[in-house]
Each structure stands twice: as structure tokens, then as C-alpha cells.
Amino acid sequence: MNTLLHPALPLLLRLQFNGRICGLSHSLLSRRNWVLTLVGVVLAVVWLGNAVASLLFRGPYDPETFHRAASLGMLGYVLWQVLRVSAKRPEHRIEWTPAERHFLLGGPFARRELVAYRLVKVLSTTVLKATCVSILFLPELRVWWIGFVGALLGFAFLEMLRLAVEFTACGVSRLAYLRTRTVVLAAAIALGSYALVRTVMMPNADQGPIAAWSLLRSFGLELSAFRGTIVGCWLESPFVVFANVLTSNGVSTQFYGSLLTAIALLGTAGILLFRLDAAFEAGQSGCEAAEHVPPRESSQPQMLARRVSIPRLGGIGPLAWRQFEGARGHLAGVLVALLAPTILACLPLSTTLDHATIFANVVGSIGFFSLVLLPSAFKFDFRRDFERLHVLKSLPFRPASVALGQIAVPVLLTSLYQVLVLAIAWWLQPISAAYVLIALACLLPANVMIYSIENTFFLISPHRMRQEGIEVFFKTTLIFTAKGLLFGGAAVVVFCWVFLAGVLGNAAAIDHRLLFVAGLSALAWVAAGLSVCVLSRVYQRMEAGVDCGT
């Protein structure tokens, strides 16, 4: 059979899609999850309401700016993927589930059919993404359906390029990968440093209260200035085509030209994917050829290995140690993940505001990046234990100990990041050590809360780390929205407490600043404790075999 897609594979895709929809609706409407469903509906209404409001009440962005942002955004996404795989090499060209590995790799399917199956699965999410984007940017789109087509083709192109990057990173030899990684990381550091220096050296830097955001914008503009270079133009050119389709005025010769070019680019990307896979499959020199098998035990008597002494701490110790070993194995990835947030959080240090304001800006930046960026990088907790949840459940540890042991490492890593940035801030902009300690006293419980919430959401609906699909897209959107609302809620609470502390301080003749700090710190620790309790409870009630699948 000489087909692109074996007839059994569309059947499998359809069956899996139907099964997931049935399973998702059953799960959402089950007695156990109806609270989460209600929260999800509320969040969706809020998000959609915000989106609708932005459509109704905001004016369109400048067409040229929108066009430029679209093409640059696409280029930025691809460059980010290159950076990501340079930091951490994928283990497999294609991440198959265990069932796919058994039925598909062991079944009578040609390799190209399996690649096509994978491509269809990945591209299935682009329809939803394109719909969301085309609705969100309705004021900017001259003709909605044309914008939808442009977004659809653009997302499809991005997904194909992402796969091509992953295929290549996994398919080349280890030496080639390491050399490329060195070049990519060096280029990223050089570019980032150049842009940072130019940003810091800018005359008339904004001295207003939102100096950090202004600097961030300037940093972004400096980076985007590279699009004016020959290399920048060349890199951006394919994405300009999709931006042209997206922002077309209507059906015209120009539109058809852009559309055909976009389709040709998609076709080329597809052919490239198949060729890459075939080449690496034949070569067998990449990461999939180097499957690691633990060495057989020698019959020779061996010196007893030095045993690590792990404090039990009710179970927290062994679990945290295990996650620590996992983080140690991904040290390079951890350091790369810290690079951008560290730089961004330090940007306010270059302003000429007073030290206290700068420090507040830095603390705010730290808090924001700790909430938004770091949790997706530091998944050394329940989220990487999808297939081992039943093992965790079998351990003789209390649920609270398991919860604390599992989140200990990401909390520690995030706290170390915060200590590092605060140390840099304190060194460059000397401020009373009390402020630093107060910030740490509030940030540490906030870290516990962030990872407790992240893991709670995961345990309610577990999924594999690299799993793709509409379901995961929904979950990610829900979690991101929830975190944004939490951040906003926390900001509201802080502002309210500022006011309240002033009133109470005056009434009780206590320094309101002392009262504010003590109250805020206590509130943070109470919230952290509650979030750990919730996580423990969810973990305790979770049924590993039922909730995780195989």
C-alpha cells in the first residue's frame, strides 16, 4: 500500500478524539470534578468576557505594527524552539505514547505513514488556536475568514518548523549537536547582551513608576532592530508571507499570491519533515540510536558504593532527594531557563529612580516571572511523575509529606533564583538588608503556593509532560488564566492590606510599615499552608490507576 496515511490511522485518530471528548465530558461532569468545572466555566466567562470587551471597546492597532508583530512573533517562536532544544536535547524524534509505540511502531505501518499520523495529530490543535487568535484580533483583521486562514496556515507552519527543529536536534550525531548548541547559545547570549547594553546605555531612560516595563519594551525594540539586518530579513521573510495573508484587505491578486506562497511554504516544510525523518531513520546516528540500557552487573566482586545518607523527615527527604537528582541531571536546562528571567528581573536596576522604588520593581518582576515562567521550566515535581503516580501512592508516607517532598525542589530552585536576583539588586543598588529579608520572607511562601497550585491542577487532571492535543491546550489555558487571576487577586489583597495597615497602625499607635510587613508575611505563610493542604488532599483522594490511564 503506497499511501501517505494508512486507512487505519485516521480511524485511530477519530476513535481517540471521540474517546477523549467522552472522557473529558465525563470527567468534568463527575461529582469529584464539578467544582473544578464550575471554576473553569467562570474563568472561561471572565477570559471571554475580557476578550469580548477588548473587541468592543478598543480601537485597532496600527496595521503596520500588527503586521510586524505577527511576523516577528512567529520568528521569535521558532528561535525560541531552537534555543530550547539547544538547552535540552529531545530524547526521541517523535514522542510516542506507550500504546502508540506498541501498536504503531510494531504495526504494519511505513515510517512516512507514522510521521503523517504524528503531523495530523499535532496540527489538530491549530484550528482552535487560529479560531481564538482570529477572534481576539478581530478589529485588526480586515476580513475575518481571511485572517482565520492566515492564522491557521501560520500556526501550522510554526508547528512543522518546531517538529523539524526537534527532528534535527535528535537526529544528528552527538558531536554535531554539541557544536550547534555551542553556536546557538553563544549567539543568543551575544545578541541578548548587545541588546541589554544598548538598552541600559539609552539616554533619557524613563524615570516613571513603570520604568521596568519601559525598559522591557526598549529591550524588545533593541532585539527587534535586528530584523533590519540582512540575516534578520532573511530569517523573517517566510513569516512575512503568513502575516501578509493574515492582514490581507480582501480577495485580490496579492492575497492569492500570498496564499499560494504560504501553501507552498507549508508543503515545503512538510516535505522537509518527511525527508529529515527518513534521513535520520536511515542514518541511526542520533539520540534514538543511543538508547541507554543499564550496564549488566559484573560477576566480579565490587567495592561497596558509598551510600548516600538521606534524612527521612517523614518521607519528605527521600522524595525531595529523588527530584533533586532529576534536576541535577538537567542542570544545563535549569541554568538556561534561569537566564532570561534573571536578565529581565534585573532590568529595573538600570534606571535612575530611588533605591526603594527600584527594589520594589525588582521584587515585582521576580514575583511575576516566578509565577509565569519558572513553573513550566522547573517540573521536578508531580508533573514529571505521570507514570509513577501509583508508585508514589504505594509509599508509606503521609499525603502532606508527599506533597512537600514533591514540590521541595522547584520551590528551592525558584527561591535560589530570587536570592540571586535580590543579591545582585542589593549589590548594585544598596538598600537596607531588612528590605531584602522581608522580600524573601514573603517570596518563599509565595513559591510554595505557586507550585502547590500548579501541582494541584496537575493532579486533578494528570497528563504526560510532552503530551499534545486540544485537551492539554485547554488545561494550559485554564491554568495560565487562573494564575493570572491569582496574581491579580494577590495584588489587590496587598493594596488593601497597605490601606488597612495604615488605619490599624494609626489606631494602635504602631508603625504601619512594621504592621504591613508582619501581616503580609503571615498572610503569605497561611496561604502557603492552605495551598499545601489542598494539594495533599487532592493527592490523597486521587486514584492513580483510574485518573492517569496508561
Partner: protein, 249 residues
Amino acid sequence: MISVADFVKQYDSTLAADGLTFRVEPGQIMGLIGPNGAGKTTTLKALSGVVRPTRGTISLCGLSVTNDSVATKRVLSYIPDDPPLFPDLTVDQHLAFAGAAYAVADSDSRAQELLDEFQLCSKRKTLARDLSRGMRQKLAICCGYLHDPSVILFDEPLTGLDPVGIRTLKETIVRRAAAGAAIIVSSHLLAMVENLCSHVLILDSGLQRFFGPLEELKSSFVDRQQAADLERIFFMATGDKAELQPLGA
């Protein structure tokens, strides 16, 4: 039907299989036994085309596993230890997919027969994620049998099965071998291997300690005054890491 010549598989610095050579004819059932880490699963995976040999040739029904992978997979069925299933598909849907994948002409009736035989009829509409370990094993066997393969590879097939399932599986293995299939059963249950298999391949640390008819192994390598059971022979073959020596050698 299954022909392996000088099969070598190397992972980094570990030699999982070193120069294995054996042949399983139609109608034969070969037991693949050895200690943990001997290379049994690696051998089965290489036979099924899931891993590529470092060296050597593997052919099934005259087709090269490496060069004619799709054609060999059409005549082959590999049922691994703890077979992974699609959690969102029901029993019926698994069989429907297997029928479509192998282009089985009368897949509905054949699926019904298999479900009856393995007592899964009442679980037709059950999702795979809701099946017990034994039922998942049975479903994987049904999917493997659906297209009447000429070569069947089992890796610890009895794990999780109830007594009825064990008896049914053994009967189906014998019946399919009698119908001309070449079958390999990898198992630590030496009594079952001794009872079921006509040939034995003993592996240890990737090396081939013995291959041949079971009776030849018993009669040639064990003193008749001693108990000539497979377990004893297994420990002799793998315990002192020495090649089995025929009596008087």
C-alpha cells in the same frame, strides 16, 4: 519461518545480544529463557522490528525484518509484557483498529470469536483504562491473534491471567502452532516452558548458552540418574557462567 543469524545488539557500551543464531520452523514453539538482563526482550524487540540489530540478519517467513519491515509486521504479532493500550479506546475499538491496521477481511466475526474465547464479551464497551491487568493482557492477545499471524512472539504472556485465561492461552498457542505458526514464548515460568515448548533457547548475559529441541537438551546434558527438569538445567547453564557441556566431554 523465524531465522536469526549472528544477531548482535549493542547499546552504548553494553552488549545486549552477542551473536545469537537460531531458527524456529512452522509448528514449533520455542521457549526463550534466561536470567534478568540476559537479552530476551531485546531479542524479541529485534525480531518484531522495534529495535534495529547492530549486526546480523533476522528474517521472518523469508522477509528481512530490516529491509521489508512493513511486510514482516503484517505476518507478525508481538505481545509484550504488560502491553500498553490506548486508554481512551474501548475493547471493541481496539479490535476495530487492529482489524483495519492488518486489513483483516472478516474482522467483526473474528473479533467476536476471540472475545468469546477469552471471555471479554461483557467488556466490549469498556475503556482500556478501566480494565484489570489480566483483561488488558487478554485484549492484547486478541489484538495479536486477529490477523492470524504466521509468527507470534510472547513476552511473559501468563502474567495477570486467571487460571481459565492461562489454560485458554496455552491451548491457543498449541493450536496455532499446529496450524503452522512459528511461536516464541519468553518466560521465567520454566515449568510452563517445559510443558509447552518443543525447543528452547537459553540466554545469559547476551550469549547463547543453548538452542535446540527440549528433549535433546534433557537427554544429552543431564545425567539420567538426576532429575532432568528444565529448572535444573537452567541453573547449570547460567549459574557458573560456563558453556553447557555434554556428558563425557
